[in-house]
Protein backbone atom coordinates (compact mmCIF):
# COMPACT_ATOMS: atom_id res chain seq x y z
CA UNK A 1 0.00 0.00 0.00
CA UNK A 2 2.75 2.39 1.01
CA UNK A 3 4.79 1.46 -2.01
CA UNK A 4 1.73 2.03 -4.16
CA UNK A 5 1.13 5.58 -2.89
CA UNK A 6 4.86 6.22 -3.21
CA UNK A 7 4.73 5.47 -6.92
CA UNK A 8 1.33 7.05 -7.52
CA UNK A 9 2.74 10.46 -8.57
CA UNK A 10 5.00 8.75 -11.09
CA UNK A 11 2.09 6.73 -12.46
CA UNK A 12 -0.08 9.85 -12.74
CA UNK A 13 2.76 11.74 -14.39
CA UNK A 14 3.43 9.00 -16.93
CA UNK A 15 -0.28 8.70 -17.76
CA UNK A 16 -0.69 12.44 -18.18
CA UNK A 17 2.55 12.77 -20.16
CA UNK A 18 1.40 9.94 -22.45
CA UNK A 19 -1.92 11.65 -23.03
CA UNK A 20 -0.34 15.03 -23.76
CA UNK A 21 2.35 13.43 -25.91
CA UNK A 22 -0.37 11.91 -28.07
CA UNK A 23 -2.13 15.27 -28.13
CA UNK A 24 0.99 16.83 -29.65
CA UNK A 25 0.58 14.68 -32.73
CA UNK A 26 -3.13 15.16 -33.27
CA UNK A 27 -4.03 17.37 -36.18
CA UNK A 28 -5.76 20.43 -34.73
CA UNK A 29 -7.46 21.01 -38.08
CA UNK A 30 -9.30 17.73 -37.89
CA UNK A 31 -12.37 18.94 -36.12
CA UNK A 32 -15.50 16.88 -35.87
CA UNK A 33 -18.20 18.10 -38.20
CA UNK A 34 -21.53 18.97 -36.63
CA UNK A 35 -23.30 17.64 -39.70
CA UNK A 36 -22.27 14.00 -39.52
CA UNK A 37 -25.40 11.84 -39.81
CA UNK A 38 -27.49 14.90 -40.61
CA UNK A 39 -29.13 15.52 -43.96
CA UNK A 40 -27.42 17.90 -46.32
CA UNK A 41 -28.74 21.42 -45.74
CA UNK A 42 -31.43 22.47 -48.21
CA UNK A 43 -30.10 24.50 -51.11
CA UNK A 44 -31.42 26.01 -54.26
CA UNK A 45 -28.51 27.43 -56.21
CA UNK A 46 -27.12 27.16 -59.70
CA UNK A 47 -24.25 25.19 -61.14
CA UNK A 48 -21.19 27.04 -62.40
CA UNK A 49 -22.63 26.77 -65.92
CA UNK A 50 -25.83 28.47 -64.81
CA UNK A 51 -28.18 25.48 -64.46
CA UNK A 52 -30.52 25.60 -61.46
CA UNK A 53 -29.58 22.92 -58.90
CA UNK A 54 -31.09 21.77 -55.61
CA UNK A 55 -31.03 18.74 -53.26
CA UNK A 56 -33.21 16.80 -55.73
CA UNK A 57 -30.39 16.83 -58.30
CA UNK A 58 -27.91 15.02 -56.05
CA UNK A 59 -26.87 11.47 -57.01
CA UNK A 60 -29.09 8.71 -55.65
CA UNK A 61 -26.12 6.71 -54.48
CA UNK A 62 -23.14 7.23 -52.21
CA UNK A 63 -21.19 10.22 -53.54
CA UNK A 64 -18.36 12.60 -52.70
CA UNK A 65 -18.99 16.28 -52.15
CA UNK A 66 -15.81 18.22 -52.79
CA UNK A 67 -15.40 21.88 -51.80
CA UNK A 68 -13.03 23.55 -54.25
CA UNK A 69 -12.01 26.89 -55.73
CA UNK A 70 -9.83 28.06 -58.59
CA UNK A 71 -7.76 30.11 -56.09
CA UNK A 72 -7.11 27.03 -53.97
CA UNK A 73 -3.64 25.56 -54.40
CA UNK A 74 -4.18 22.40 -52.33
CA UNK A 75 -7.13 21.66 -54.63
CA UNK A 76 -4.58 21.18 -57.43
CA UNK A 77 -2.77 18.65 -55.27
CA UNK A 78 -5.86 16.49 -54.79
CA UNK A 79 -7.11 17.05 -58.33
CA UNK A 80 -5.40 13.97 -59.88
CA UNK A 81 -7.06 11.74 -57.29
CA UNK A 82 -10.50 13.19 -58.03
CA UNK A 83 -9.82 12.81 -61.78
CA UNK A 84 -8.86 9.16 -61.31
CA UNK A 85 -12.02 8.48 -59.27
CA UNK A 86 -14.18 10.10 -61.93
CA UNK A 87 -12.44 8.28 -64.80
CA UNK A 88 -12.63 4.90 -63.11
CA UNK A 89 -16.24 5.53 -62.10
CA UNK A 90 -15.47 4.55 -58.52
CA UNK A 91 -17.85 7.05 -56.98
CA UNK A 92 -19.65 10.14 -58.31
CA UNK A 93 -18.06 13.43 -57.28
CA UNK A 94 -20.14 16.58 -56.89
CA UNK A 95 -18.26 19.87 -56.56
CA UNK A 96 -19.06 22.94 -54.52
CA UNK A 97 -17.31 25.88 -56.08
CA UNK A 98 -16.72 27.81 -52.88
CA UNK A 99 -16.31 31.61 -52.84
CA UNK A 100 -15.11 31.72 -56.41
CA UNK A 101 -16.23 33.30 -59.68
CA UNK A 102 -17.91 31.20 -62.37
CA UNK A 103 -15.61 32.28 -65.20
CA UNK A 104 -12.48 31.52 -63.14
CA UNK A 105 -13.96 28.18 -62.07
CA UNK A 106 -14.80 27.20 -65.65
CA UNK A 107 -11.32 28.24 -66.76
CA UNK A 108 -9.74 26.14 -64.03
CA UNK A 109 -11.74 23.05 -65.05
CA UNK A 110 -10.86 23.67 -68.72
CA UNK A 111 -7.16 23.77 -67.88
CA UNK A 112 -6.99 20.96 -65.32
CA UNK A 113 -9.86 18.67 -66.27
CA UNK A 114 -13.29 18.28 -64.74
CA UNK A 115 -13.84 15.40 -62.31
CA UNK A 116 -17.24 16.67 -61.16
CA UNK A 117 -20.68 15.43 -62.21
CA UNK A 118 -21.56 19.09 -61.68
CA UNK A 119 -20.31 21.94 -59.53
CA UNK A 120 -22.68 23.90 -57.32
CA UNK A 121 -21.82 27.56 -57.33
CA UNK A 122 -21.50 29.08 -53.86
CA UNK A 123 -19.97 32.48 -54.62
CA UNK A 124 -21.17 34.05 -51.40
CA UNK A 125 -20.03 31.19 -49.17
CA UNK A 126 -23.50 31.12 -47.60
CA UNK A 127 -24.08 27.44 -48.42
CA UNK A 128 -20.59 26.76 -47.06
CA UNK A 129 -21.66 28.20 -43.71
CA UNK A 130 -24.65 25.84 -43.60
CA UNK A 131 -22.27 22.94 -44.25
CA UNK A 132 -19.82 24.17 -41.62
CA UNK A 133 -17.06 24.60 -44.21
CA UNK A 134 -13.79 26.21 -43.06
CA UNK A 135 -12.25 26.59 -46.47
CA UNK A 136 -11.39 24.66 -49.61
CA UNK A 137 -10.52 21.86 -49.94
CA UNK A 138 -12.92 19.73 -47.93
CA UNK A 139 -14.54 16.48 -48.95
CA UNK A 140 -17.70 14.87 -47.60
CA UNK A 141 -19.19 11.44 -48.18
CA UNK A 142 -22.95 11.69 -48.61
CA UNK A 143 -25.19 8.63 -48.78
CA UNK A 144 -28.05 7.88 -51.16
CA UNK A 145 -30.55 9.50 -48.79
CA UNK A 146 -28.60 12.75 -48.84
CA UNK A 147 -27.24 12.26 -45.32
CA UNK A 148 -23.68 13.42 -44.62
CA UNK A 149 -21.68 10.46 -43.31
CA UNK A 150 -18.05 11.51 -43.36
CA UNK A 151 -15.96 14.62 -43.61
CA UNK A 152 -12.33 15.20 -44.49
CA UNK A 153 -10.69 18.61 -44.12
CA UNK A 154 -7.78 19.51 -46.45
CA UNK A 155 -6.18 17.55 -49.27
CA UNK A 156 -7.65 14.22 -50.38
CA UNK A 157 -4.65 12.52 -51.95
CA UNK A 158 -4.12 8.84 -52.75
CA UNK A 159 -2.87 8.09 -49.24
CA UNK A 160 -5.92 9.66 -47.61
CA UNK A 161 -8.11 7.88 -50.15
CA UNK A 162 -6.58 4.48 -49.36
CA UNK A 163 -6.39 4.89 -45.62
CA UNK A 164 -9.51 6.86 -44.74
CA UNK A 165 -12.00 6.98 -47.58
CA UNK A 166 -11.88 3.39 -48.86
CA UNK A 167 -12.60 1.84 -45.42
CA UNK A 168 -15.33 4.43 -44.73
CA UNK A 169 -16.97 3.85 -48.11
CA UNK A 170 -16.73 0.05 -47.77
CA UNK A 171 -18.43 0.27 -44.39
CA UNK A 172 -21.19 2.54 -45.68
CA UNK A 173 -21.78 0.33 -48.73
CA UNK A 174 -21.92 -2.79 -46.55
CA UNK A 175 -24.39 -1.04 -44.27
CA UNK A 176 -26.72 -0.01 -47.10
CA UNK A 177 -26.36 -3.50 -48.65
CA UNK A 178 -27.46 -5.07 -45.37
CA UNK A 179 -30.40 -2.71 -45.12
CA UNK A 180 -31.80 -3.81 -48.46
Amino acid sequence: MNRLTFFLPVVVFVALAGLLWRGLYLNPRELPSMLIDKPMPAFSLSTIDGQPVSNADLPESLFLLNVWGSYCLPCLVEHPTLMRLAEEGEIPVVGINYKDREELALDWLQTNGNPFAFSISDNSGRFGIDLGVYGAPETYIVDKDGVIRYRHVSVLDETVWQEDFLPAIAELRAESGAAQ
Partner: protein
Protein backbone atom coordinates in the same frame (compact mmCIF):
# COMPACT_ATOMS: atom_id res chain seq x y z
CA UNK B 1 14.11 13.10 8.84
CA UNK B 2 11.34 15.41 10.05
CA UNK B 3 13.20 18.60 9.28
CA UNK B 4 14.27 17.38 5.89
CA UNK B 5 10.68 16.74 4.82
CA UNK B 6 9.52 20.06 6.17
CA UNK B 7 12.25 21.89 4.29
CA UNK B 8 11.46 20.03 1.15
CA UNK B 9 7.82 21.00 1.12
CA UNK B 10 7.93 24.85 1.18
CA UNK B 11 10.25 24.79 -1.83
CA UNK B 12 7.56 22.83 -3.64
CA UNK B 13 4.89 25.22 -2.44
CA UNK B 14 6.84 28.21 -3.75
CA UNK B 15 7.19 26.50 -7.11
CA UNK B 16 3.47 25.75 -7.15
CA UNK B 17 2.57 29.36 -6.37
CA UNK B 18 4.95 30.64 -9.06
CA UNK B 19 3.62 28.19 -11.61
CA UNK B 20 0.02 29.05 -10.81
CA UNK B 21 0.74 32.76 -11.08
CA UNK B 22 2.44 32.24 -14.45
CA UNK B 23 -0.46 30.12 -15.69
CA UNK B 24 -3.00 32.73 -14.62
CA UNK B 25 -1.00 35.48 -16.28
CA UNK B 26 -0.96 33.53 -19.53
CA UNK B 27 -4.69 32.89 -19.33
CA UNK B 28 -5.54 36.52 -18.89
CA UNK B 29 -3.27 37.70 -21.71
CA UNK B 30 -5.40 39.31 -24.40
CA UNK B 31 -5.79 36.95 -27.37
CA UNK B 32 -6.23 39.59 -29.98
CA UNK B 33 -6.47 43.30 -29.64
CA UNK B 34 -6.76 43.82 -33.38
CA UNK B 35 -9.99 43.85 -35.24
CA UNK B 36 -10.99 44.22 -38.83
CA UNK B 37 -12.53 47.55 -39.69
CA UNK B 38 -16.19 46.80 -39.98
CA UNK B 39 -18.13 48.50 -42.70
CA UNK B 40 -21.47 47.26 -41.43
CA UNK B 41 -24.20 49.73 -40.66
CA UNK B 42 -26.39 49.42 -37.60
CA UNK B 43 -29.54 51.19 -36.51
CA UNK B 44 -28.60 51.41 -32.88
CA UNK B 45 -25.52 51.59 -30.70
CA UNK B 46 -26.70 48.42 -28.92
CA UNK B 47 -26.73 46.41 -32.16
CA UNK B 48 -23.20 47.55 -32.94
CA UNK B 49 -22.05 46.61 -29.45
CA UNK B 50 -23.65 43.16 -29.78
CA UNK B 51 -21.92 42.68 -33.12
CA UNK B 52 -18.55 43.56 -31.57
CA UNK B 53 -19.08 41.26 -28.61
CA UNK B 54 -20.21 38.34 -30.75
CA UNK B 55 -17.43 38.65 -33.29
CA UNK B 56 -14.90 38.95 -30.47
CA UNK B 57 -16.12 35.83 -28.73
CA UNK B 58 -16.51 33.62 -31.76
CA UNK B 59 -13.47 31.95 -33.20
CA UNK B 60 -12.52 31.92 -36.86
CA UNK B 61 -12.83 28.26 -37.95
CA UNK B 62 -10.13 28.58 -40.59
CA UNK B 63 -7.36 30.42 -38.78
CA UNK B 64 -8.01 28.77 -35.41
CA UNK B 65 -6.19 31.24 -33.21
CA UNK B 66 -8.02 34.46 -33.99
CA UNK B 67 -11.52 35.55 -33.28
CA UNK B 68 -13.91 36.50 -36.05
CA UNK B 69 -13.33 40.19 -35.58
CA UNK B 70 -9.57 39.84 -35.94
CA UNK B 71 -9.47 37.57 -38.96
CA UNK B 72 -9.11 38.35 -42.63
CA UNK B 73 -9.99 34.76 -43.57
CA UNK B 74 -12.74 34.23 -46.12
CA UNK B 75 -15.01 32.29 -43.84
CA UNK B 76 -14.57 34.83 -41.02
CA UNK B 77 -15.67 37.57 -43.37
CA UNK B 78 -18.75 35.54 -44.32
CA UNK B 79 -19.57 34.80 -40.71
CA UNK B 80 -19.28 38.48 -39.76
CA UNK B 81 -21.69 39.26 -42.57
CA UNK B 82 -24.06 36.59 -41.28
CA UNK B 83 -23.89 37.95 -37.74
CA UNK B 84 -24.70 41.40 -39.07
CA UNK B 85 -27.62 40.03 -41.08
CA UNK B 86 -28.97 38.11 -38.08
CA UNK B 87 -28.68 41.08 -35.73
CA UNK B 88 -30.50 43.29 -38.21
CA UNK B 89 -33.16 40.59 -38.60
CA UNK B 90 -33.77 40.76 -34.86
CA UNK B 91 -32.14 37.50 -33.75
CA UNK B 92 -31.14 37.24 -30.11
CA UNK B 93 -27.56 36.53 -29.07
CA UNK B 94 -28.62 33.02 -28.01
CA UNK B 95 -30.15 32.35 -31.41
CA UNK B 96 -27.02 33.54 -33.19
CA UNK B 97 -24.83 31.39 -30.95
CA UNK B 98 -27.08 28.40 -31.61
CA UNK B 99 -26.81 29.04 -35.36
CA UNK B 100 -23.01 28.94 -35.08
CA UNK B 101 -23.04 25.90 -32.81
CA UNK B 102 -25.19 23.88 -35.21
CA UNK B 103 -22.68 24.46 -37.98
CA UNK B 104 -19.29 24.67 -36.30
CA UNK B 105 -19.77 23.04 -32.89
CA UNK B 106 -18.13 23.96 -29.62
CA UNK B 107 -15.00 24.88 -31.51
CA UNK B 108 -16.49 28.20 -32.62
CA UNK B 109 -16.76 29.47 -29.05
CA UNK B 110 -13.80 30.83 -27.18
CA UNK B 111 -15.88 30.08 -24.10
CA UNK B 112 -17.40 26.68 -24.97
CA UNK B 113 -20.80 25.83 -23.58
CA UNK B 114 -20.89 23.70 -20.46
CA UNK B 115 -21.91 20.26 -21.72
CA UNK B 116 -20.92 16.68 -20.94
CA UNK B 117 -18.32 16.87 -23.74
CA UNK B 118 -16.81 20.10 -22.47
CA UNK B 119 -16.91 19.25 -18.76
CA UNK B 120 -13.23 18.24 -18.60
CA UNK B 121 -12.24 21.31 -20.56
CA UNK B 122 -13.93 23.53 -18.01
CA UNK B 123 -13.17 21.68 -14.80
CA UNK B 124 -10.10 19.54 -15.66
CA UNK B 125 -7.63 22.13 -14.33
CA UNK B 126 -9.69 22.62 -11.17
CA UNK B 127 -9.85 18.87 -10.60
CA UNK B 128 -6.08 18.63 -10.97
CA UNK B 129 -5.59 21.56 -8.62
CA UNK B 130 -7.83 19.98 -5.97
CA UNK B 131 -6.13 16.56 -6.33
CA UNK B 132 -2.70 18.18 -6.17
CA UNK B 133 -3.63 20.27 -3.15
CA UNK B 134 -5.09 17.21 -1.39
CA UNK B 135 -1.90 15.25 -2.05
CA UNK B 136 0.26 18.13 -0.88
CA UNK B 137 -1.76 18.53 2.32
CA UNK B 138 -1.65 14.78 2.98
CA UNK B 139 2.14 14.72 2.58
CA UNK B 140 2.53 17.79 4.73
CA UNK B 141 0.34 16.49 7.54
CA UNK B 142 2.08 13.16 7.52
CA UNK B 143 5.46 14.86 7.74
CA UNK B 144 4.28 17.05 10.61
CA UNK B 145 2.77 14.24 12.61
CA UNK B 146 5.99 12.26 12.43
CA UNK B 147 7.32 12.04 15.95
CA UNK B 148 10.93 10.87 16.41
CA UNK B 149 10.45 10.06 20.10
CA UNK B 150 7.92 7.37 19.15
CA UNK B 151 10.56 5.46 17.28
CA UNK B 152 12.32 2.84 19.30
CA UNK B 153 15.27 0.89 18.01
CA UNK B 154 16.77 -2.26 19.39
CA UNK B 155 20.54 -2.63 19.62
CA UNK B 156 20.93 -4.29 16.26
CA UNK B 157 18.94 -1.54 14.58
CA UNK B 158 20.94 1.17 16.36
CA UNK B 159 24.14 -0.41 15.15
CA UNK B 160 22.86 -0.57 11.61
CA UNK B 161 21.72 3.07 11.80
CA UNK B 162 25.13 4.08 13.03
CA UNK B 163 26.87 2.31 10.22
CA UNK B 164 24.47 3.75 7.64
CA UNK B 165 24.98 7.30 8.91
CA UNK B 166 28.68 6.68 9.10
CA UNK B 167 28.72 5.50 5.51
CA UNK B 168 26.92 8.61 4.38
CA UNK B 169 29.37 10.94 6.11
CA UNK B 170 32.28 9.27 4.42
CA UNK B 171 30.67 9.32 0.99
Amino acid sequence: MTTRRLHFFPANLAALVLFTAAALAMLSWPTSALSQVDTFEFDTEVQQQRFRTLSNELRCPMCQNTNLSGSTGGVAEDLRREIHRMIMAGWSDQEIQQFMFERYGDFIFYRPRLRAETFLLWFGPLIFLVLGAAAAIAVWRKARSFDESEVTLDDAEKKRLQSLLGDRRRA
